[in-house]
């Protein structure tokens, strides 16, 4: 069980955190031989799959394990390739052997998609003029904000 909370200074339009991308080495032998640390990782519930930019894949020497095609909102369908990585989440735990898309991402180094978030309980609150992003993994809750008003 791990958890993470980030409170922003005001309301924000994107949730951005730290994240580590590791080479997909055997973790039973210790720390992977290389990693990339980004402070520019966006959390996107509209993304089905986690994405890293080509520069990260190249710097880590990742290998193509598959290909695919994605369609973005307002963008054209285009080909991408798939690589395997380990992630180091800001909650200080790993996500191991994650298959990620490698694609050019405007303005950000990587996108955490629903393939990672579906294993979490996540909330975003905006009280007191500040956006707060919090998650816990694995998922254990059955939240329903309407229950407070219906009871």
């Amino acid at each position: 069980m791990s958890s993470f909370t980030k409170e922003f200074a005001d309301h924000v339009s994107v949730i951005v955190t730290n994240c580590l991308v590791f080479t997909p080495d055997d973790l039973s032998k210790g720390v992977p031989h290389a990693y990339y640390h980004t402070t520019n990782c966006i959390w996107d519930t509209g993304a089905e799959i986690t994405v890293i930019c080509p520069e990260i894949a190249e710097a880590l020497g990742l290998k193509e394990i598959g290909t695919g095609q994605i369609g973005g909102i307002g963008g054209e369908d285009h080909e991408i390739w798939v690589a395997k990585v380990h992630l180091g989440l800001p909650s200080s735990e790993t996500i191991e052997n994650l298959e990620v898309y490698v694609d050019d991402i405007p303005d950000h180094d990587m996108i955490i998609g629903m393939d990672v978030m579906k294993e979490m309980d996540i909330a975003i609150t905006n009280a007191n003029g500040r956006t707060k992003f919090t998650y816990e993994r694995p998922s254990t809750r059955n939240l329903d904000f309407t229950q407070k008003h219906n009871s």
């Binding site: 210790g30 990693y35 640390h37 509209g46 307002g74 180091g88 303005d107």
Partner: protein, 63 residues
């Protein structure tokens, strides 16, 4: 490098730098104004990330 949000994560990073190679990438333009938000998978040669993923505390990697 921006401010880190989690002290445990920051402590791990300090130890990680001594045991693994940190790679860097050319600075990306963070002010293009383009939206990366939202996309769907059209087709793929793999069935990606269907089951739960193994995980462990980052600190275990350093042992």
């Amino acid at each position: 490098m921006g401010k880190l949000e989690n002290s445990t994560f920051e402590e791990f990073l300090q130890e990680l730098r001594a045991k693994s190679k940190e790679v860097t990438i050319p600075k990306r333009n963070c002010h293009t104004g383009k939206k990366a938000i939202g996309f769907s998978v059209k087709n793929c040669t793999l069935r990606l990330n269907e089951g739960p993923h193994n995980s462990r505390p980052l600190s275990e990697l350093l042992k």
